[in-house]
């Protein structure tokens, strides 16, 4: 992958899972999902809306903090991104604490909207840039939002993919587990086994390499998307694309 950055591979791989959607929402401090959403929007001929939570200039909501959740609850949000201090093999997400909840070893900011959005947004893409046995664990210490629910629980939403700095996992909703979909250029299946704390399925045959964005998408990423993302995440755009002059 001469001259294609990991960030660009991730942006392209995520965008491929967003094409055709009407409304994609991105949480605060998520530059790569944000750039992927902008790439998908650019390819949508004006049919996709993207909203960035916590950004004054890049969301179109006018009814206060609750509106984004009401929008999601009604089914007007097609895709969202969640991360986690820990993500486990059953797609449970932990944004709260490591160790005993009452007196934890590590405490993180909190669950934000995950305890709701994971249930109601059809395509929740899990995104974690540190792919190690510390973050991708067998069982999370605290469930901010469960990956799967009993059949009687209202659950139009849930996990759709898990993407890391090493690979892309698909979600098997029947077996309630992850299946390795592709390994990013320069990484190996053996390495994924070593660096993943949970068991996962393998595809039939050889594991594909995550495709790099095609020339047109790469040009969009480096042009239009880089410029737009620099207004939201100036430090990221400066570091990755050399765009703008970040503080």
């Amino acid at each position: 992958m001469t001259n294609v950055l990991l960030e660009e591979v991730l942006i392209g791989a995520i965008a491929n899972n967003l094409d055709g959607l009407r409304h994609v929402a991105v949480g605060a401090a998520s530059p790569i999902p944000g750039a992927a959403a902008l790439l998908a929007r650019s390819r949508s001929n004006g049919t996709m809306r993207v909203s960035v939570l916590g950004s004054e200039d890049n969301n179109f909501f006018t009814d206060g903090g609750k509106e984004i959740f009401d929008v999601a609850g009604q089914g007007r949000m097609d895709a969202f991104f969640l991360s986690g201090a820990q993500i486990d093999g059953k797609a449970n997400v932990n944004l709260v604490a490591v160790g005993d909840y009452a007196q934890p070893k590590a405490r993180f900011p909190g669950s934000f909207g995950s305890g709701y959005l994971y249930f109601v947004v059809p395509r929740v893409i899990l995104f974690r840039l540190e792919h190690t046995p510390r973050t991708l664990v067998e069982e999370v210490d605290f469930i901010s939002a469960p990956g799967f629910s009993d059949d009687n629980v209202y659950r139009p939403g849930g996990p759709y993919k898990l993407i890391t700095d090493r690979c892309l996992f698909d979600v098997d909703k029947e077996r309630r587990c992850f299946r390795l979909e592709s390994v990013h250029p320069g990484h190996t299946v053996e390495e994924i086994h070593i660096q993943t704390g949970f068991k996962f399925d393998l595809p039939d045959g050889e594991v594909p390499v995550t495709p790099v964005p095609d020339a047109a998408s790469l040009a969009t990423i480096r042009g239009e998307v880089a410029k737009e993302i620099s207004e939201i995440y100036p430090a990221f755009a400066a570091r990755v694309f050399g765009v703008g002059k970040a503080a």
Binding site: A28, A29, G54, E56, T62, D63, G64, G65, K66, F69, D70, G73, L95, V96, A97, Y101, A102, Q103, P104, K105, R107, F108, P109, G110, S111, F112, G113, S114, G115, Y116, L117, Y118, F119, V120, F142, I143, S144, A145, P146, S149, D150, N152, V153, Y154, A247
Partner: protein
């Protein structure tokens, strides 16, 4: 007529120890001058509610020993990292923590706004958020023909909403523009205390363009004028956040001594008070 000639210190003297106080997130209009005044008056045993999260202001209150209970979906200094005093208090189990998820805070406030005892919310079933909230219950959708578990949240009625605003008038009306979570907080809380960049003599209800984004004085208990009252946070369309200062806080607050030094310099110091 409503008291609009109060100082910020007078305003916070209306907030008793033990009060349940709703606070907006850092990207909304936060009354930081009032928070500093609360710390100066030595407030104790507060129950602070993030709507739906809080940042810098809550971390300062926790560090200063003003807080007994925290109810929120998250505590974050966003790009400045974890909230250090909150993190320390949790690790030492020195505050009671009520973890939530954002729409649960909003919905529970909406129940209070409507004067109803509870409100149902989707999601949450099977989470440890729910497992650790003994005040929330799982019921069944009474309209469903089969089993349909749904979470019931009791109405959340804060004693106080403490907010900042760009503009208020002498009739008690408070303009918050598009930041309508502040409207919800005012509707849902028993009392609303406001600091405003400017208090004007004309009626904000007189122009439909401002009326649309205005909290009616009906909900407002007192207003104090506080220019730059959100500092070191910013206000949308006004002044930006003072990021070098926020970064300094985030660094200082990592140690007990650093936090004390920050408090002395920016909260208790005579120069700090004179600047309010």
């Amino acid at each position: 007529m409503l008291a609009t000639q109060l100082s910020v210190d007078d305003l916070v003297s209306c907030i008793p120890d033990g009060a349940k106080i709703a606070l907006p997130p850092d990207y909304s209009y936060c009354a930081l001058a009032a928070v500093r005044a609360l710390i100066r008056r030595g407030a104790r045993d507060l129950h602070i509610v993030g709507v739906p999260t809080f940042g810098f202001q809550g971390d300062m209150l926790i560090g200063a020993g003003c807080v007994a209970t925290v109810e929120t979906s998250a505590v974050t200094l966003s790009e400045h990292g974890l909230a250090p005093r909150f993190t320390k208090a949790i690790k030492e189990a020195s505050i009671k923590m009520m973890d939530a998820t954002c729409p649960a805070v909003h919905a529970a406030l909406q129940a209070s706004e409507k004067g109803i005892p509870f409100i149902p919310l989707r999601g949450l079933v099977g989470s440890d958020i729910l497992a650790n909230r003994s005040d929330w219950k799982v019921g069944n959708n009474p309209f469903a023909e089969s089993d349909d578990p749904i979470v019931y949240l009791p109405a959340l009625r804060p004693d106080v909403a403490l907010i900042h605003a760009p503009l208020a008038d002498k009739f008690g009306n408070v303009w918050i523009g598009v930041r309508r979570e502040l409207m919800l907080m005012a509707h849902a809380s028993a009392e609303t205390y406001v600091t405003a960049e400017k208090i004007v003599d004309y009626n904000l209800m007189g122009d439909l363009k401002t009326k649309a984004g205005t909290i009616p004085g009906l909900y407002v208990s007192a207003i104090a004028e506080a220019e730059n009252g959100a500092w070191p946070l910013g206000i949308p369309d006004g002044y930006g956040a003072d990021h070098p200062h926020l970064a300094k806080y985030a660094a200082d607050a990592r140690s007990d001594q650093g936090f004390q030094r920050y408090m002395e310099q920016f909260v208790f110091g005579s120069a700090a008070q004179a600047a309010e």
